[in-house]
């Protein structure tokens, strides 16, 4: 079975997180669930990957974290929420352009039907 190239996807975890946060503040598990749903369960982000992405992009100023209580009626557990910043939005836009370019270039080398390919001996 074909798997997602972890090298490629690593560079776009930030983009996915920013995309989800554009819809509103969210927290760790909800974001990982969104990623899974949106990718039709083709990509499951690891907890450590997600957390390391959070710390990295927060350090870069693309997201902000704040502590909130999801349900006041509940067990009173505090949760760390993240929200996107202006800089984050700019970064997201540039990542989208970068991806378009990358896709455009790589796609020029991708055959539509690789299964039919053979090596001619000439």
């Amino acid at each position: 079975m074909v798997q997602i190239s972890s090298d490629i996807i690593r560079g776009y975890n930030d983009t996915m997180i920013l995309n989800i946060l554009m819809k509103g503040p969210s927290y760790g598990y909800q974001i990982s669930k969104e990623i899974k749903t949106i990718s039709d369960e083709k990509y499951v982000i690891k907890e450590t990957t997600l957390y390391s992405a959070f710390t990295r992009i927060e350090k870069n100023g693309y997201i902000e974290s704040f502590v909130a209580n999801p349900d006041p009626e509940g067990n009173g557990k505090k949760r760390t929420y993240y929200r996107i910043t202006e800089a984050g939005l700019e970064y997201y836009k540039s990542k989208c352009e970068e991806w378009e370019l990358t896709k455009e270039v790589v796609e020029k080398f991708i055959e539509e039907n690789p299964d039919s390919l053979t090596l001619d001996d000439n």
């Binding site: 927290y27 760790g28 598990y29 909800q30 990982s32 669930k33 499951v44 690891k46 907890e47 450590t48 990957t49 997600l50 957390y51 390391s52 959070f54 710390t55 990295r56 949760r79 760390t80």
Partner: protein, 329 residues
């Protein structure tokens, strides 16, 4: 859920106890807990939920790199292998707590016996048998000292905790913390009662003085009340310090150590002008106690000498204020 906590605990074993690592751990636990709860809600069995959560956890090395902890992680691993920590299990911890209670009992009993030993000569003096009283006093002191010596042996099995580095895991630390917190109420009662007994110990003297009953009886009651008060204080403090000792096993190089650090008790440390001032304050009450005992035994006027405590109590405030550093609020 305990399995997941244990797994995370194992992953973080040997990580330095820095705020970054603590945060990473609690955030990761939160995510795993959310995922686990949802899987269970969806009808997954506990085993399969735990399996999924752990398989999707990822790799801590990735995190160590991002958090800039690579060097620290390696250092911690280095320390770990230099001095392997002895792991204390939950059962051992429970044993330790039972043992601690025993130790506390004998320690407090020993101190109390020594304190109330002096009541024997005073008491028997009332009946005119002073010599017998002195003999009885030594019996009390003997029993007290015996009790103190015995309490030294009670925890000899636990000497290794002092001599070699040990650690407890997160679940055990939680158990100890809960036990400590539930003991806190008992301790508060013991300390309050003990302190009140020590403070009001001279009240019977006044009453006895007022009704002109035998004055020696007042002296006896002072020591009895102080003895019981000290017993309560020593007993509850010894048990409480046992819990703290367990929680302090984990230091900066282990993770569960956060339990003590994260809930620091408010400590009201008074700053003094200089070393001399500090010494004066430290020696104040022992000096007053000595003065009181010497005067009382020399004069045998228990009905009057208690006034020393009233004067000393008022004077104490003045002494402390004079010795405090000016910038202390």
């Amino acid at each position: 859920m305990e399995t997941i906590k244990g797994y995370l605990e194992a992953m973080f074993a040997g990580m330095p106890n820095t705020p970054e690592v603590r945060k990473a751990k609690s955030e990761l636990l939160q995510m795993m807990e959310d995922k686990y709860n949802e899987l269970i809600e969806e009808g997954a069995s506990e085993n399969s939920a735990v399996g999924t959560v752990i398989s999707e956890f990822g790799n801590l090395d990735e995190l160590a790199d991002d958090l800039g902890l690579k060097k620290e992680v390696e250092e911690a691993h280095g320390k770990e292998s230099e001095t392997p920590r002895r792991h204390i299990t939950l059962d051992e911890v429970k044993d330790f707590i039972i043992n601690r209670r025993k130790k506390a009992l004998f320690l407090a009993l020993g101190v109390m016996l020594c304190i109330i030993s002096v009541t024997a000569p005073i008491m028997l003096d009332i009946f005119g048998a002073g010599d017998l009283g002195a003999a009885l006093m030594f019996v009390f002191v003997g029993a007290g000292v015996g009790s103190l010596i015995y309490c030294g042996f009670v925890d000899s099995n636990w000497k290794f905790m002092k001599n070699s580095p040990c650690q407890i895991d997160m679940n055990t630390a939680k158990y100890v913390e809960e036990a400590r917190n539930s003991f806190e109420a008992v301790r508060a009662i013991c300390i309050t009662l003990g302190t009140v007994l020590c403070v009001i110990c001279w009240v019977p003297c006044i009453i006895i003085d007022y009704y002109k009953v035998n004055e020696n009886l007042g002296g006896v009651l002072i020591f009895l009340l102080v003895g019981i008060g000290v017993f309560l204080i020593v007993y509850s403090n010894t048990i409480a310090s046992g819990y703290d000792k367990l929680l302090e096993l984990n230091d900066k190089t282990t993770f569960s150590g956060t339990y003590v650090d994260s809930s620091p008790k408010p400590v009201n440390v008074i700053k003094y002008k200089n070393k001399t001032a500090e010494t004066i304050v430290a020696l104040y009450w022992p000096t007053v106690t000595c003065l009181y005992l010497i005067l009382s035994f020399l004069t045998f006027q228990w009905g009057i000498t208690w006034i020393i405590w009233v004067i000393a109590g008022v004077a104490h405030k003045a002494v402390v204020i004079n010795c405090q550093a000016d910038d202390y609020e």
